[in-house]
Structure formats: C-alpha cells, structure tokens
C-alpha cells in the first residue's frame, strides 16, 4: 500500500540508537531504520522480536542430518551391502563424518536462502535507497505517516534532541 515516509537523518551510531529508542517509546510506528553497518542494540531499540531464522536453520540442519543418515544406511545396508573389513553393514561411527558435513551444508545453505526470501533480496534487484549516503555514513529513521494525526513537528522536536541533521518527507512510497 502507498504511504508517506517521514525521515530523520543522523550522523552517528549513538544518536540513531537513542533517537530510535525515544521514538519507539513515544509510540510512533517505526517503518524501518537504515544504517551503513549493523548497529548493535538497534533491534532492541526498535522493539524487533528475535529472528525466527534460527528455527529455519534448525529445520534445514535436521533435514540434512536425516538425509545423511537415511542415504548411508539405505545404501550401506539395504541397496548394496558391501563387506569392508568384516565390519557390520550398519556401522554408525563410520557414517558420522558425512552426517555432520551434510547437516552443516544443508543447514547453512538453507538458512542463507531463507534469509534472502524473507528479506526479499535477490541478484539484480533494483535498490530502493531512502536517503543518499545510507550505505556510507548516514543513519536514517523512517516513520510511516498514514493519517492526519501524525504531527511531524513533534517528531522533529524529539529528534532534534539527538542531533538530527535533517528531516525529510518521502511522498507516496509503495511499501
């Protein structure tokens, strides 16, 4: 849907952290914050929940593990039992290295793939950059402005306490 974004631009990590925390506490709906690097604590300041990607990772890793267990036992004991040094056909210890490797491989690739799906990033995507310099040295808070009750003056006054450089309105952004 279309909405207007109200941006506040900052120049360093502490200002953006404090501004975000204050904005969130004041009850504004934060659309997103844009930073040139991962600012630690920003997810708490924005009130984001822990990512569920860890569960996706667990699911993929478990799939890899089960696949490796199944494939090795099926091949080694059922489809083509091969006598190696008189050892039992279903010898788990010998299967552990491949079980471990496939767990890591499928868990790792799966969680990366999930992240790209979830964040809607893909090769060749045309970027939407809210403010120039946001991948260099600018930190930007974007608020959603959906109705007339949004008081941009009050927001600006709040942000000015945290050394805001500039406030800006982005019209009609498709979110």
């Amino acid at each position: 849907m279309d909405a207007q974004l109200f941006l506040g631009v900052f120049s360093n990590e502490d200002d953006i952290l404090n501004a975000t925390r204050a904005t969130n506490a004041a009850g504004y709906k934060i659309h997103d914050v844009y930073t040139p690097y991962a600012v630690h604590g920003l997810e708490n300041a924005m009130g984001l929940k822990p990512s569920r990607l860890t569960w996706a990772c667990l699911a993929f890793a478990a799939t890899g593990l089960m696949l490796a267990v199944f494939v090795q036992f099926w091949i080694g004991s059922i489809d083509w039992p091969l006598n190696v040094g008189g050892k039992p056909f279903n010898s788990l210890p010998a299967y552990l290295p491949v079980i471990f490797e496939l767990t890591v491989l499928i868990g790792g690739l799966g969680v990366v793939f999930s992240m790209f799906v979830k964040t809607k990033l893909y090769p060749g995507k045309t970027e939407w950059v809210p403010y120039p310099g946001v991948t260099n040295d600018r930190f930007v808070i974007a608020l959603e402005q959906r109705d007339a009750s949004f008081d941009s003056g009050a927001v600006q006054r709040l942000w000015q306490q945290f050394n805001m450089l500039e406030a800006k309105r982005l019209a009609e952004v498709t979110l």
Partner: protein, 471 residues
C-alpha cells in the same frame, strides 16, 4: 586527535577516522588504475599459473606415470600439496568464524582478505586429489548418485570419501560466508559508482541491499549461525584430512593424535600465510592504519600457540613410538629423524618448532621485517611437515626388499609452482576488484575504545561497547 574513552580498550583502527573516510580509503584502491607493482606481481603469478596449466595438461594427457611415484611410495608430492593448501585455508575460517564467536573485534580488518585466501586455497587444494585420480574427467563418480553401474555406490566407510564431503562442504560454506559478508560492501560501492557498467555489476551482485535495520537484524542472525556452523566445520575438515592417514595401518600414520595435531598445524600454517599476505598488502595498499602492528602481534601470538601444539605433537609422536614398544612404529620414527630423509625432518623441526620460539620476544613480534621472514619460514616448514609425514612413513615399509626412495619430477614441481601461481593470481584479482577490507564491519568497530562527539549522559542502558571509565 583521538581521545581514549576507555582505559581498558585500545581502538582497533588507528587514525581518527570518520565513517565516510573508511569507505573512501577502501574504495579508492578499487577506483584507481592498478599500479606498476600490481602488474609486475600479476605477470609473475600468471606466468607461474601458465606453467602449472601446461604441467597439469601434460600429466592428464600422459598419466600420473609422469610423477616420481613408485610401488612403495604411492602418495608423495601431490598429496603433500593438497594437505598444505587445505591447511592454509584454515586461518581464514578461524578469523571469520571462531574469532567472531569469541568477540575478537580486531578480526574485522583482516577477515575479508583472510576468507578470500581460504576460498582460493581450497580451490588450489582441490585440484590435487582431482589430478591424482588419473582420470579426472570421471571425478563425479565420487558423488553418490543413482547410476547405471549397478547402481554402484561409493563406500561411506572410506575416509577418502569423507574427505570429499568435508572439502566440498567447507568450500561451499566458506564461499557463502564470504559472499554474505560482501553484500553490504557491494551496496556501498554501488551507491558511489560513477560509471554505468560498474553500477549495473554492483547492482546485480549486491542483491538490492539498502541498509534496512530489519534486514541487518536477520543478516546478523544468519551471520552468527554460519559462524557457529563454520567453527566445528573447520575443525572437522583437517581432522578428516588427517583420517586419510590415521585410519590406515602404516606406522607413522596410524596415530590417534592426528586430528588435533593436523588442525593445530593447519591454523599455524594458515596464519603464517595470512601474515605473508597482509604484511605485503598493508604496505602496498596503504592500509597500515587498518592492519596495525597490534594485528600482526596478535596473529604472531596465535602462531606461537598453535606452533607450541605442533611441537608437542612431534614430541608425543616420538614418545609414543618408544613407549608403544611397537617395532615398526619405532623404526618409522628413527628413520624419520636419522634416515635418508632426515634433512626434511630437521627442516620441519627447525622451521616449525625451534625458530618460531623467537616470537616470545615482543620486540620481534612487532618487527614487520622479522615477522615477514618468519611467516615464510613457517610456510616452508609446514610444507615439509606434510612431506615428512607422507613420504618418510611410506618409503621404508614392512619389507626391506621393497624399500624405495622418492624424488619429485619436474612435472610435479611445475604443478606445485602452478598452484602458487593460481593462488597469487586469484588473490591479486581479489585485491583489485573486491573491497580488501570489510567496510561495513570496520565501521562497526570504529567507536571501539574511542570517544567521538558524544554526550555520555544520554547513553543510559546503551548496548554500545563504551564504558564510562573516565570520570
């Protein structure tokens, strides 16, 4: 002037840099034309690579009879090179994953290039078992896929197969880990690219990244998860490589200490290679403020530690050979130290155990010229370690009538040179086209131990690393 905010923490990056300055510093090396020095190094490495390609083509056409192997010594130069290159790769993952989990902030200025080194080293390593197969065009037979030969499956009880899984998983995960770290930097380059072609290339490769904190939040989660995977992975890779030897019954190979011994050796040699590369790169690319003397000193400490473990492993092997009262085991080790290949054993011991003890001196750890020479000495020593383990254990086996010597042929030496050519060619291309320093990660540690235009009064329950030690 930089002001220390904390008495306990020293800034990781020297020079009082602004955020934008880091982008400029790193991007500038990509934006200016290559220097004469770069062309010189590139020409040299590329020539080595051409020699290697010629040698490999020849031995694939004629067969591995072109090597110096014989009935007794069935593994020698080729497998030595394989283990050497896999080992080199380990430092990159240690820096990118293990030091990340241990919150070692200094890793940020070297992790990009160390990870690139890992990826390239694993490619170099992978070539050797491939050509050792003799018929490398059938290499895909090692993958367990339904086929019309039975289906005839691979043997999952063979360490050589585990090795295939370990190396290919390691390569894939390292590459993905490296690329994930690269995406935000490619977006930074995209947003400052002037030419249309560059803009398009960076747009394709940066996946539409725009610095959204919601994306960063997921990105960081995935980064931790990948680090948590890569940590046991890197330990498993060289453990499995060591099992290629340890699960056999050859005296000198059949040892339970091999996995930790190989892993320590791998990290030892990998850090030596990182130092070789970084000491050149920081000078040539002018990154002395990013890759500081403190970085070099810390890496030297890692080398000292892992080198100590390697020395302990040498001593343990000798002790166990005596203590086991196993005739063949004892002979294997006496033969190593005093037999016809004693020279290679003593090169190994001096380069890996004796000479590195000089690193106990702080003055030497902080002397760039000394550390550079040391890193090359260790690289040589670690190559010989693998040569000693492989060749001296094989060449005098159980039956004196089948004892033999081994001498590499020119083709084998040319292949080794070619692998160095590939390594340096790829690394030089990396330094030319990809940000050598992780811009985004370095920015994240910039405020570490430093006070910059901030008002501490506002920072209540802040998550940043600052501690108000100063009154």
């Amino acid at each position: 002037m930089s002001m220390h905010y904390s008495k306990l923490r020293k800034p990781v990056i020297e020079g009082d840099k602004a955020l934008g300055q880091i982008t400029d510093d790193v991007a500038r090396t990509l934006e200016r034309p290559p220097t004469m020095l770069w062309w010189f190094a590139f020409t040299l490495s590329f020539s080595l690579l051409v020699i290697g390609v010629a040698a490999v083509s020849y031995q694939i056409k004629v067969g591995i009879g072109t090597w110096g192997l014989n009935k007794t010594v069935g593994w020698a130069f080729d497998i030595t090179n394989f283990v050497f290159w896999v080992g080199i790769g380990h430092a990159g993952t240690l820096i990118s994953a293990i030091l990340f989990l241990f919150r070692q902030r200094w890793r940020t200025s070297i992790n990009r290039s160390a990870e690139a080194m890992t990826v390239i080293a694993v490619i170099c390593a992978g070539i050797f078992p491939l050509i050792h197969m003799g018929r490398p065009w059938l290499f895909f037979w090692i993958a367990p896929y339904p086929n019309f030969r039975g289906p005839l499956w691979v043997n999952f009880r063979s360490p050589l197969l585990w090795d295939f899984f370990a190396i290919s998983t390691y390569f894939t995960i390292s590459l993905v880990f490296w690329y994930i770290g690269l995406i935000p930097d490619l977006a930074t380059l995209r947003d400052r690219a002037k030419s249309k072609i560059k803009k398009v290339i960076y747009r394709i490769t940066s996946f539409g990244w725009n610095g959204s904190a919601r994306t960063w939040h997921r990105y960081e989660t995935v980064y931790v998860l990948l680090a948590a995977f890569a940590t046991p992975l890197v330990l498993s890779v060289h453990s499995i490589v060591s099992m290629d030897f340890a699960t056999s019954v050859i005296p000198g190979w059949h040892t339970t200490i091999f996995p930790p011994y190989f892993v320590a050796g791998a990290i030892f040699s990998g850090f030596a290679m990182v130092l070789t590369l970084m000491i050149i790169a920081r000078k040539v690319l002018n990154y002395q403020e990013y890759i500081t003397l403190d970085h070099i000193e810390k890496m030297c400490k890692v080398i000292l530690t892992t080198g100590g473990i390697v020395g302990l492993a040498y001593a343990t092997e000798m002790f166990m050979a005596w203590y086991s009262v196993n005739h063949y085991e004892r002979f294997a080790f006496i033969n190593r130290a005093l037999g016809p290949f004693a020279w290679s054993y003593w090169i190994m011991v001096s380069c890996n155990v004796i000479i590195p003890q000089l690193l106990w001196f702080k003055k030497l750890r902080r002397s760039i010229a000394f550390v550079f020479v040391m890193s090359i000495v260790i690289n040589i020593g670690m190559w010989f370690e693998r040569f000693v383990i492989i060749v001296t254990s094989l060449h005098r086996d159980f039956l004196p009538s089948s004892w033999a010597m081994y001498k590499p042929t020119l083709i084998e030496i040319a292949t080794l040179m070619g692998s160095f050519g590939l390594f340096f060619t790829a690394f030089l291309l990396f330094a030319r086209f990809i940000p050598f320093i992780a811009i985004g990660e370095v920015k994240g540690v910039l405020s570490y131990g430093r006070n910059k235009n901030r008002k501490p009064a506002i920072i209540q329950n802040s998550e940043t690393e600052l501690e108000a030690v100063e009154a």
